[in-house]
């Protein structure tokens, strides 16, 4: 029953989205308001159908209705309800269903927010969104059906992959990832609309940038959550392995960040319109490439699903999207003419271009590295790897250069500057650089790249803090008290500017924390008997005992380790080795003790309860928690940039919650 109803809703979604795409194009060509209204209705209908299908699936999962094929695939009676709900996105077909839900929500929000604005662009945009919606509906109706009826439903199912049940982060990471990934469809539609219409007016840049920024925030959080999850669950003590699917999530983030900066130039000076649009299109294309990489089974990755008919279908969509993008750009890019000019190379203008160059170069490099094993297999017939040494070698210099650029760019004035102005702008923050380098050297940092990163971090931190302080100082000069100035200036005047510098501050912290945690950690392999003690740095670890713990879905051997530092008892850590019934190899869960400056990380390599021995991989990882915190700062900064501006300025409606929540329309002055 549920299966049939689900299929109906998916077919409905396919129908209305296809019709909506056609209606949207027609409405845009004819400039018809009635046509636009019809398109809107069809868009809402698409979202509603997807929502209904998802609701049905969640119901089926909770009810353990094994007559639905997807539930038979991932459902289980022996897992708690929250795991059953999370199973919606844990496996292939369900994750595409979830994609449809998120897409529907975004299309609803974007359509509703702009229903009375930009009438020359919106029908085109909606048509493109609904065309994407139609593709995903087609996937759900054809190669990736979650609602097939199982003729003889089993009594119980295998449950989702045990690795996915281990940690609460698994609940949060995929939704954020989808909110980021799928959200990139919206600016893709807007950019396509600008190209189709043949102009990118000044008033349209703001919505383009805003609808790029919202998914960017989610994607930033999602990538960091993914790293955090890998850190807490996989047991090797790192958070990023340059796995193809990790890279797939990172690539669109890079081009989106470049696009955000390019859009700023477009908004201010009316230049680089074609380039901004190209970056936005590239971001969407990279999300489709990313989803292909994850689902096609072609790439050797932790995340990969098995191969199925979905791969070729997504590849076809990718090819079509690429042809669409290149064709549209070639045909219309010359119409997006500039209204101003970039001036000077040693200026902020020039630095924006360098920013874009570095981001695009990094994207290109990571893409080549990820795809290269496939190239070699096709040409030399050899299976080879492109791993961490390659990516680190390429990404570190570019990342460090970007770190410096975040300081040099804002320090420089717009337009041409005299050498004297340049000196006055660029020299003072060197103090920050030297201070940071000295502090680093004193604290024992010896790795050259880390020292450079810390020095550049100091430089950029000084510039960023100065820029954040500037409006406050200005307000105080006008006579306001300190508290008033602190509250008023960043929140009222130049909120976007403040928000941008907050994001930069977060970014500096992230890069510095990554540099320190990658090079300043210590690790040791320990073989301990019960009662034995070992030391790692300032920590004393005592292996108390090995316990056997039986849970419904797994059997674990837990090592109880007492931790002390400087004589003070810090409690007991319990890393474990889990044997899942459905998995061949045992899966370990590490124990992490996070403190302000470092993490103590214990991972079980081997454990024997009968003999009372344990093999531990013990690590001290500095500044890891800073990465998570700094990413939150970046996300908050991004959110602040999205909030409505001063009263009096046109303030398009914003969506401030995720999922199909009602949007709040800010008062229009």
């Amino acid at each position: 029953m549920i299966a049939a109803a689900g299929r109906v809703f998916i077919l409905l979604a396919l129908l209305v989205s296809s019709a909506g795409a056609v209606a949207g194009f027609a409405a845009a060509r004819r400039g018809s308001a009635a046509g636009w209204r019809l398109t809107r209705v069809l868009a809402y209908a698409f979202a509603a159908s997807m929502a209904a299908a998802n609701a049905l699936m969640v119901w089926a999962l909770l009810a353990r209705d094994f007559s639905v094929s997807y539930v038979a695939h991932v459902g289980s009676r022996s897992v708690p309800d929250w795991v059953a709900v999370v199973s919606l996105w844990s496996s292939l077909e369900g994750s595409i269903l979830f994609w449809g839900l998120v897409l529907g929500a975004y299309v609803t929000a974007a359509t509703r927010a702009n229903r009375a604005r930009h009438p020359e662009y919106m029908p085109y945009a909606a048509a493109v969104w609904l065309a994407c919606g139609a593709f995903f509906s087609f996937l759900l109706a054809g190669p990736a059906q979650p609602f097939l009826t199982v003729p003889h439903p089993p009594a119980d199912g295998p449950g989702p992959n045990p690795l996915l049940q281990n940690h609460v982060l698994m609940v949060v990471h995929p939704p954020f990832l989808y909110l980021g990934y799928v959200g990139m469809t919206i600016p893709f539609g807007l950019a396509s609309a600008a190209l189709l219409r043949g102009r990118l007016g000044h008033d349209f840049i703001r919505p383009l940038r805003d609808w790029l920024l919202l998914p960017w925030i989610f994607l930033t959080v999602a990538i960091v959550l993914g790293g955090w999850w890998a850190y807490e669950v996989l047991g090797w003590g790192g958070y990023w392995a340059w796995d193809p699917v990790e890279n797939a999530s990172f690539l669109p983030w890079l081009t989106a960040t470049a696009a955000l900066h390019s859009a700023l130039l477009t908004e201010r000076k009316g230049v680089l319109k074609g380039w901004t649009v190209t970056l936005v299109l590239a971001t969407f294309l990279l999300t489709i490439l990313g989803t292909f990489m994850t689902r096609s089974g072609v790439f050797n990755s932790v995340h990969s699903f098995t191969q199925s008919a979905i791969g070729p279908t997504i590849l076809v969509f990718l090819a079509l999207s690429l042809v669409w993008s290149v064709g549209l750009l070639a045909a219309r890019i010359d119409r997006l003419s500039a209204e101003g000019r970039l001036e000077g190379s040693a200026s902020r203008d020039g630095m924006f271009l360098v920013n874009n160059l570095l981001f695009v170069l990094l994207t290109f490099t990571i893409l080549i590295g990820t795809v290269f094993p496939l190239v070699v297999e096709a040409t030399r017939g050899v299976q080879m790897s492109v791993g961490r040494p390659y990516f680190d070698r390429m990404a570190v210099p570019i990342g460090v250069a970007l770190l410096l650029l975040m300081g040099v760019g804002p320090a420089l004035p717009w337009g041409r500057a005299t050498p004297d102005q340049l000196k006055r702008a660029l020299l003072p923050p060197v103090v920050g650089a030297l201070a940071a380098a000295a502090a680093a050297a004193l604290l024992g940092v010896r790795a050259p790249w880390t020292l450079v990163a810390l020095a550049f971090g100091g430089y950029t931190a000084q510039v960023t803090l100065r820029e954040l302080w500037l409006p406050v100082a200005r307000r105080r000069a006008q006579g306001a008290g300190l508290r008033q100035a602190l509250v008023e200036s960043p929140l009222r005047q130049g909120r976007r500017r403040t928000a941008a510098y907050v994001v930069h501050a977060g970014a500096v912290l992230v890069v510095v924390a990554i540099a320190v945690s990658s090079t300043m950690g210590t690790s040791k392999e320990l073989q301990l008997r019960e009662g034995e003690t070992a030391t790692l740095g300032a920590y004393t670890l005592t292996f108390l005992k090995a316990e056997q713990v039986r849970e419904p879905h797994r059997e674990s051997l837990v090592a109880r380790i007492a931790v002390a530092r400087g004589g003070r008892d810090l409690g007991i850590l319990t890393p474990r080795m889990n044997h899942y019934e459905s998995q061949r190899e045992p899966v370990g869960t590490p124990a992490v003790r996070t403190s302000l400056f470092e993490d103590l990380y214990l991972s079980v390599m081997n454990i024997d309860a009968s003999q009372g021995t344990v093999g531990l991989l013990a690590m001290v990882n500095p500044m890891v928690a800073w990465i998570w915190a700094a990413a939150a700062v970046m996300a908050l900064g991004g959110l602040a940039a999205l909030l409505p501006g001063r009263r009096g300025a046109a303030a398009p409606a914003r969506v401030e919650s995720r999922g199909p929540a009602p949007s709040r329309v800010a008062a229009e002055g």
Binding site: F292, L315, L322, S325, L329, I333, L374, A378
Partner: protein, 189 residues
């Protein structure tokens, strides 16, 4: 007297020509990408082909489980050899154990069978062999030296070596009667 310059009336209305450069760059990026992805559809990236097939089998000198002098690969030349890496904690190894034992007895005298234990302990191995029986000896590989030399990534993995000591086939999954027969044919003239 010059007439006032009239802005070209057609400039705004006529569609601009297609930007060839963009088209070329786009083609240069898109075509190779799609081609590479297309070519690789259908390949399984997780099955790694062994480079040792067709090459001489690495040498080893390992002690049998149950004691005795070490068995060297040199001494085994002259007769085809089936070398099976396994462990007591590996469930699929138990599945194929039956096939191996039966084939070993059937081909006694013609093809030699040897097991190499991977990441396990001697008493557990002896208990296993006592319980399940075996028609051929198993050797201990305490630090996985032999496993590394043979490029073993997990168990079970079986190598089919001909009389000259050249590896003719490697099977990285549990053997069935059929796959066993197919591969033994490759080393047995």
């Amino acid at each position: 007297m010059a007439a006032p310059a009239r802005p070209s009336a057609t400039a705004a209305a006529a569609p601009a020509a297609v930007n060839r450069r963009v088209l070329l760059v786009g083609l240069f990026v898109v075509a190779p990408l799609i081609a590479i992805l297309l070519l690789n559809l259908g390949r399984d990236p997780h099955s790694i082909r062994s480079p040792l097939v067709g090459r001489p089998a690495p040498a080893f000198s390992l002690v049998p489980a149950g004691g005795g002098p070490p068995v060297t690969s040199e001494a085994l030349k002259g007769r085809p050899l089936v070398l099976n890496f396994w462990a007591t904690w590996c469930a699929p190894c138990l599945e194929e154990h039956e096939v191996l034992v039966r084939t070993a007895s059937a081909l006694q005298g013609e093809v030699r069978f040897l097991g190499v234990v991977y990441e396990d302990e001697e008493d557990r191995v002896r208990a296993f062999l006592q319980r399940h029986g075996s028609s051929y000896p198993s050797l201990l590989d305490p630090e996985a030296k032999a496993a590394i030399a043979y490029g073993v990534a997990g168990v079970p993995e079986t190598y089919f070596i001909d009389a000259a000591g050249v590896i003719q086939a490697k099977v990285a999954y549990p053997l069935s009667a059929q796959t066993m027969a197919e591969n033994v044919r490759k080393v047995r003239p």
